[in-house]
Amino acid sequence: MLTPPAAIEALLFASGEPLDKKQLRTLLGLKESELKVALKVLSESLNGRGITLIEADSKIEMRTVPEASALVKKLRENELSRDLGKASMETLAVIAYETGTTRGEIDWVRGVNSSASLRTLLMRGLIEGREDENDKRRIRYSLTTEALAYLGISSSSDLPRHAELAAAARDIIKEDPI
């Protein structure tokens, strides 16, 4: 019989793309709390293995573990990560530590126009933009599982000095009335 964690693993492997939690729940007929438990069991059972889960926003994806990076690169040289310029890396950093931030906030804190860097990050699939619920015209950006994969971490809470840098970003950027 297929346990929920095994079912999730099969779906993530077959899909090859990040799956939305809502999608997983409908496919498996699970309540939110049940999915949460199943995901926890699956991710624990993956400890010490060659593959692991990455979670960004409400999306889950299965990827090889960071430790296997050099090995897998031998298999897949074409997909090597091209470097990111300083401006794009700075823009990625603002979005990483201040998820759901807007272009206005990014320009405010960087002191320069960030539209070119945002376009680079969007085209590489490292960030995605979503319309602000109460203000359609405003786009809020967040990291994708692809970005976490390039950073070699499973979720944004694993970002270096996450608590410290995220807190700093929150109280400074958020005050700015856009």
């Binding site: 960071p66 090597l80 320069v112 070699g152």
Partner: protein, 232 residues
């Protein structure tokens, strides 16, 4: 490479091992303006930013030269805003360096691209009109983003124009804030004169550079020390 104003400010402060505070900002005012002057031209959309920051720096500078100068509420807000944004940018730069350290180092790969078995499965929202609308929407969305780089191509603000704007901006503010000083003791007026001379120096610096090259007779000391020129 082109540096944004905050990047430049932080570099100037960091090279002098200072903390981000008003004293540091006052100290590097001339360097910031000298750096701005050294650029031959500026992308239009960044010029306003540089001028605003240069003007705020001169406000902080004037506060350091004349401690009990009364800045207007708006000026104080500008000074606080600059400091807050710089502190935030300092954190962003730290975060960016942290990410750069790990980016691409231990990449996590997705499942290999299995060739998906193909079954012809159009959708009910698919039609020729839907395609035309979708492409029109994409092209329209690009218009808004597009027009920004265009302005970069427009004639750039030359340094002289920028220095004039800056000088006018600060002088009008200065005269406003100096109103009550004119009556008080001589020593304060001496400082005010030297400060306005600094401004003149900066403005002339841009002009004298040309004269210097063509006639070669006017000598002006370099601005990185606050040695105020003696006007005979």
């Amino acid at each position: 490479a082109y540096q944004g104003p905050f990047e430049l400010l932080l570099d100037l402060i960091e090279t002098r091992k200072l903390l981000v505070n008003d004293l540091a900002l006052a100290n590097i005012t001339e360097d910031f303006i000298a750096h701005v002057r050294a650029q031959d031209a500026f992308p239009v959309e960044d010029t306003a930013n540089f001028i605003q920051i240069a003007a705020t720096l001169l406000l902080i500078k004037s506060k350091s030269l004349i401690p009990d100068i009364a800045l207007t509420d708006e000026e104080t807000a500008d000074v606080d805003d600059l400091r807050r944004r710089l502190e935030a940018y300092e954190k962003v730069r730290e975060a960016s360096r942290e990410l750069a350290r790990i980016y691409g180092k231990s990449q996590m790969f997705s499942t290999g691209e299995r060739i998906p078995e193909v079954t012809f499965a159009p959708s009910n929202d698919l039609s020729a009109d839907a395609l035309a609308e979708a492409l029109a929407r994409v092209l329209a969305a690009r218009e808004i983003v597009e027009e920004l780089p265009e302005t970069r191509v427009k004639p750039l603000v030359t340094i002289e124009e920028m220095m004039d704007q800056l000088a006018k901006r600060v002088q009008s503010v200065m005269t406003l804030s100096f109103k009550e000083f004119s009556k008080s003791n001589k020593e304060k007026i001496e400082v005010i004169v030297s400060f306005l001379a600094l401004l003149e120096l900066v403005k002339q610096g841009a002009v004298a550079a040309e004269q210097y090259t063509s006639h070669g007779d006017i000598r002006i000391s370099h601005t990185n020390s606050i040695s105020v020129p003696r006007y005979v």
